[in-house]
């Protein structure tokens, strides 16, 4: 009996040391692979590492000479504000519309509330499709059907937001609401009652938190989409940039950054209150 235990012990310590050796080996290997990947891809892309770093001071110098908002740029501030608020409001509208639709759509996709497993799977696939086509690609595709106007940008953002939110809502509902849904079903509550009394109250804070995050993201991406669709703040940036009015263009960028930071702070406040 005692010798048995002793043998066990020596075997355990052997196992233990081999675990550490294995971990060391994995780390070394991972590091080598990481470095090799960098070297190979740099070689293929003909990326000059040293040259890249050397050009940084020059770039900074040029940017500080050209991208500082001057007198003329500040006089354009009202115009910038107008376009910026337009873009921000469109982003909010897109997110809210997409979120409403995504919520009801996600109910079909969750393990907790799905009608049957096949529909659940289809919902997840549809959501993955909408999410994984980048919004810029959506914008380019939709340009053919809607032309250069607000609607194109709206739908481009709508599709990615819808896909993204459907997925996060599915995960949230499965994580937060499954236990109370089970209990409500057991009391004899109908499907719609469990949605309104179980899922909505229990998962609403998380859902709002995701919607706020998507509003931030959408303001950022709507800038780029605006360049393509010739609307909003993106168009204004494009205009100034092409006129080589870099100081005004930079003021546009700065104002976008300020707005996004402001929205971020605001939504953090909201999150604190609702959690």
């Amino acid at each position: 009996m005692i010798s048995d235990k002793h043998m066990d012990k020596s075997k355990v310590s052997q196992d233990r040391s081999s675990v550490f050796v294995k971990r060391k080996r994995t780390f070394t290997l991972a590091f080598i692979i990481f470095f090799a990947l960098f070297a190979i891809s740099a070689a293929v892309a003909e990326y000059d590492v040293i040259g890249g770093f050397e050009s940084i001071p020059k770039a900074v110098k040029w940017m500080s000479a050209n991208f500082v908002p001057d007198e003329k740029a500040w006089s354009r501030l009202p115009k910038i504000f107008e376009k910026l608020s337009e873009t921000a409001l469109v982003s909010v509208a897109v997110t809210v519309c997409a979120a409403t639709l995504a919520f009801f759509f996600s109910l079909l996709g969750t393990k907790t509330t799905r009608v049957n497993p096949w529909i659940g799977r289809i919902v997840r696939i549809i959501a993955a499709f909408f999410r994984n086509v980048p919004d810029v690609v959506w914008a380019m595709l939709l340009l053919f059907s809607f032309g250069q106007n607000m609607l194109t940008g709206f739908f481009a953002l709508f599709f990615t937001t819808f896909g993204m939110l459907t997925r996060t809502f599915i995960e949230t509902i499965d994580e937060v609401s499954s236990s109370c849904v089970e209990a409500l079903r057991a009391t004899g509550a109908s499907y719609i009652q469990t949605v309104f009394h179980g899922i909505i109250p229990s998962s609403m804070p998380e859902i709002i938190s995701w919607v706020l995050y998507m509003i931030e993201t959408n303001i950022r991406s709507s800038t780029l989409i605006g360049v393509l669709t010739a609307t909003g703040i993106g168009n204004l940036f494009d205009l100034y940039y092409k006129r080589m009015d870099y100081s005004s263009a930079s003021l546009v960028v700065v104002s976008i950054v300020v707005l996004v930071i402001f929205i971020e702070m605001l939504s953090n406040k909201i999150r604190k209150v609702i959690m």
């Binding site: 236990s179 089970e182 209990a183 409500l184 057991a186 009391t187 004899g188 309104f196």
Partner: protein
């Protein structure tokens, strides 16, 4: 009179995993029955077959004269209002107040629309406060459930099921997450409900000693089969070892004596 009857009930998960095999038993009105058995032996599945949170694969389950497996949607809702359920993790809507959670017990009695808008009659509200008072939760009525202790949460769970005016309460490990003193309070309340309100109670329990102390009848389950069904006095040590498929000295209760 039998309120619940299992006739040769079997349950397969994913067409392969056998959860229950040929389970037959019947429970009379007003009984206080404990089901014991190792984890994964099918205790929870039995309870969930009663209110069809899980559908039995084979066999018949009769509750209050109705064949549960044949019930349509409306019938099923009616059956569910007659069977309360209490969970190990309480399964409350944590962000809502105690009183709202208790009133959820009425949803099954309502039409979908009046349930959705949360319309509760004055009598229902009064009844909810009465039940809360009976369970010693009057002061907590307007608190959010996530502010409560485990024992208090479980009492809210009991209140919710009592709001249903059930004839049967299914208790799925009601005290498994509670400290010994809260566990005792919960068991005493349930015993009291069983005796004074004549509501039938079926328990899943891990604590053999609790089952022996409180219930008048014990059902032992091992790998989906009933291996014991009788009064606690006749549940010998040998039988307990058989239920848990272990030998002497391997159970925690062996050391305590």
């Amino acid at each position: 009179m039998a309120i619940l009857e299992f006739q040769n009930v079997s349950k397969l998960y994913n067409n392969t995993t056998k959860a229950l095999t040929d389970i037959s038993f019947s429970v009379d009105e007003g009984e206080f029955v404990s089901i014991i058995g190792p984890s994964g032996s099918g205790k929870s599945t039995i309870l969930r077959c009663v209110n069809r949170l899980v559908d039995a694969t084979k066999g018949t389950i009769i509750f209050d004269g109705h064949d549960i497996n044949r019930a349509d949607k409306r019938e099923l809702r009616r059956i569910r209002t007659k069977t309360g359920m209490i969970f190990q993790h309480y399964n409350l809507v944590d962000r809502l107040s105690v009183i709202e959670n208790v009133l959820h017990g009425r949803l099954g009695h309502k039409t979908t629309m009046s349930g959705v808008v949360g319309y509760y009659s004055e009598e229902e509200k009064e009844r909810a406060f009465e039940i809360l008072a009976k369970l010693g939760l009057s002061e907590q009525a307007y608190k959010r459930c996530d502010e409560l202790s485990g024992g208090q949460k479980q009492r809210v769970g009991i209140a919710r099921s009592l709001m249903q005016e059930p004839r049967l309460i299914l208790c799925d490990e009601p005290i498994a997450s509670l400290d010994p003193s809260s566990a005792r309070i919960i068991m005493d309340y349930l015993k009291n409900i069983n005796e004074t309100m004549k509501i039938t109670c079926i328990f899943n329990l891990h604590q053999v000693d609790v089952a022996l102390k409180y219930s008048k009848r014990i059902i032992g389950i091992t790998s989906g089969r009933i291996v014991y069904d009788g009064p606690p006095e006749e549940l010998t040590k040998a039988k307990i070892y058989e239920i848990y498929q272990s030998s002497e000295g391997e159970l925690i209760t062996d050391d305590i004596g």
